[in-house]
Assembly symmetry: D2
Homo-oligomer: 297 residues x 4
Amino acid sequence: MEIRTDLALEAKELDTDNTEGIKLNYSTYNDIKISRMKIITDSASNRLKKEKGTYITIEMDAIDDDITHADDKIYAIANELENLLPQKGTILVAGIGNVNITADALGPKTIDDILATRHITEDIAKQIGLEDLRSVAAIAPGVLGQTGVESSELILSIVKRINPSAVIVVDALASRRLSRLGCTIQISDTGISPGAGVGNHRMPINEETMGIPVIGIGVPMVVDAVTLAADLLEPNDEQRADKLIEELTPSGNHMVVTPKNIDVLTMRSSRLTAMAINCALQRSLSKDDIIALTCNS
Amino acid sequence: MEIRTDLALEAKELDTDNTEGIKLNYSTYNDIKISRMKIITDSASNRLKKEKGTYITIEMDAIDDDITHADDKIYAIANELENLLPQKGTILVAGIGNVNITADALGPKTIDDILATRHITEDIAKQIGLEDLRSVAAIAPGVLGQTGVESSELILSIVKRINPSAVIVVDALASRRLSRLGCTIQISDTGISPGAGVGNHRMPINEETMGIPVIGIGVPMVVDAVTLAADLLEPNDEQRADKLIEELTPSGNHMVVTPKNIDVLTMRSSRLTAMAINCALQRSLSKDDIIALTCNS
Amino acid sequence: MEIRTDLALEAKELDTDNTEGIKLNYSTYNDIKISRMKIITDSASNRLKKEKGTYITIEMDAIDDDITHADDKIYAIANELENLLPQKGTILVAGIGNVNITADALGPKTIDDILATRHITEDIAKQIGLEDLRSVAAIAPGVLGQTGVESSELILSIVKRINPSAVIVVDALASRRLSRLGCTIQISDTGISPGAGVGNHRMPINEETMGIPVIGIGVPMVVDAVTLAADLLEPNDEQRADKLIEELTPSGNHMVVTPKNIDVLTMRSSRLTAMAINCALQRSLSKDDIIALTCNS
Amino acid sequence: MEIRTDLALEAKELDTDNTEGIKLNYSTYNDIKISRMKIITDSASNRLKKEKGTYITIEMDAIDDDITHADDKIYAIANELENLLPQKGTILVAGIGNVNITADALGPKTIDDILATRHITEDIAKQIGLEDLRSVAAIAPGVLGQTGVESSELILSIVKRINPSAVIVVDALASRRLSRLGCTIQISDTGISPGAGVGNHRMPINEETMGIPVIGIGVPMVVDAVTLAADLLEPNDEQRADKLIEELTPSGNHMVVTPKNIDVLTMRSSRLTAMAINCALQRSLSKDDIIALTCNS
């Protein structure tokens, strides 16, 4: 029974004493805790089962009921994103996952609120009072079972067509701790690995496969039921573990632990993520503009 | 840490040796297992924390991908329902729960597929070739936080207005075992108790409060996270239990274990429930009519 | 070929010279035009085919893209509503129409954003800093074909149960002029008449049937195709009219003219209507509170 | 005031006497009327404002309430499609239009029900008893305003990546006659032209731009309000026309005539289209398989 987490910070916690190959520092933005972790060596990468690179974890009290008052959260996330992005060129935002499965819908639902601007000419932008708009394209590639095309293939084909300077990939994550659901955001320059996220993505979406920087951003929406159980059990009870795995995956179904109102969590998390991305990409707009453009779409 | 289940059969399993006040017998319908349990005495009712009355549990392999081929399941459920319903008079079908919370949406989603006929006059029924239609009304009363009116109050006010001979109440349930999610149906003549179901309903909906027979029908959609943990722990570890409950209800949030694709489970379970109810109420229609009327609504 | 309109002001325009039995005056709220028309005599009521009573028409430029900046519109509507409502007692807001038919969904979609408070006790209200909340219940009664129960019956049964001091009924309207779609609001103390609105409601919902004041509020979402055609034709061409009616109602289908993006119109109109009702009923809340509570629901 | 139609057959009707450059023949499939029109010469193409190529029009009584009984319609459409498609290679089905605008949602909603198989290996297909599956990919490219990427660009980038042997493009159409809405299907080897359909697509999607055969398939969902009016007016009344165009496009809004229940029409039309495409592409499956796979997705 394996403890699964998509959060590098939690992977580190499972492996506490060993700091070889890892750099970790902390800061705050108002009351929001920000951790920056670098996985530097191959051995650290193997130990933590995370790609080498930078992982930023932003921990909030909770995603507020009222997204229109969430200023600090929006800026805390936007600032980190901005630091990882190239300053020029089109940005492609891709929201992966299955919009019909609430726990996996963060990616496509975020895309619904992204301000796509690539098609707005400079002349039109000036006319509507929005100069200095950054060129943004926004795509939800769907899921393999419904399209017959891998998300990574589809994103790559668009990258080749529109030549962005970077990709932002949004995905729903799994964490180890229930207390993190919906109130932790991970941003990473390693993109998305196979097997990460709530859905099943077979191929990595990262700088190596796309040829340009790929920033991953995600919010944990579920804890795997097997992970929850593994945390509860005595570590050496192997016989019981075998029986439990059968119980915890009846007929092979993947069971997850979520808040009862995961629907609300997904809605709020995707709005916050979209606003933070819009804010990072369109620095010429005020926060009020961002909220109005995002909430009224 | 309490083990919670809305299934009387599971409550009985937690209390195995004692058969005082309980009658239990089994049958099958083709390959489908049907248990009929009667809770007869007050002491049995207290022990099991279930109202006195009849509880029928129908256990299926799984709700099929393909509801149009689910003949046996539809008839197995319809037969049991029919036995509990009065033979004459209007039937009010009420689907309780929150349509915006996937795990709690079984009730209102079932209502979407119920064939409401109370407004069809005999003359019109004859014209469209549907004689012998039974009078049916179908209501989703919503949730208190959105309407300001208790589901039970709303149902009672309609009962007083339209004078049905019985009410069928549909609700999403919680079970103890993950293996039962979406593939067990409980039918009971005790209606719905306060605190049962996935949502929180404060007042009972039963023969006593409504003044007419109330048949409850439900499908387990979740296992409480606390119930899953309680099942995994040594019974006497009280200190650990206290700490766990905090972890399992972060910031007081109600956590549940579900299949990742609870959305599909809810859709299929509500369709099957609606078809079985339609089938029990409209015996003059063929199964093909029922499927066509239900699937094309 | 009959010209159909649910707006009393347009009915008046079709009958221009005759002012018998009608009182009409105008005002503005900032740039918003407000007409108040009283139909006083039976003969005026017959001529205009509108019940005797007061009809307030609020004409706006357009429902803005950005509802969070729509201050003036919200207050213009809220002020008029407030004048027609009793100062004390529970208000029942009922949104009629079919949520699955975009042009008819204004009522139920408005209900989604109404702040229901009837279940919030004074103690709880104080705790969350919301003293002086007015008691509000909010119901979408659905449509006869799906429930088997008339909207009016269902509303009446709830009125009898919860004893409100007044009912606000929200419904999608039909107008004569395309230019009014989505940017005119009619408020009336006559409630809702049979045959009005986009759907088909058989029984009136008014003070006579409910026993308490009933305020109707609606936004025109469609122009009947027959009305559009009638406006285009020479009045005396009866032969052509017969043929046209056949063309304009193929296989008996009711055809309507709408903006291509009626979906957006319905969304914005229902939000604005809900905010104005929330604002009229909860005068202790600021506009920012109203927007936050409405937009984040 | 221009009469607009996306149906080549209606364009022909507007230009009745002249058969230069046009070949037209008729057949039936059971009771369904099928017209096959070839536009051969440039002058015919200019006269009709339709690209040179083959246009097949299938006229049905109505899209039935009950899609599970729609056998003849499914086969009539599937047969015509099959004749236009290459016998080998992957087929890319692309559904264009805006899923959030009901009148424009035919394309993306059809994609929801397309059986995508490109990712199913031969081994897996054998295991699940589905040998001889044809490789199909299915994409809804979204709309420019939401993605920043033209539908045609996105489709072309996928074509280059997955090398299909042909593209099927599904789009909502505008017709001249209300009686055709939802019950006529046009299939064409000319793909999709700029300015056709309910939405606004700037670039053609055809064999020239994609480099492989492109089959367009569409169902008329609206009549333009201007087209309806133009049909009603005396041809020479130019003054009135000017005033009318202003009335018919208030504030520049595009007004359309639709059945009140366009939502139902879109749902049924997209299901029928998807079933016919699935049927044409997967000849190894029975109609019952097709219906079950499509309706239970």
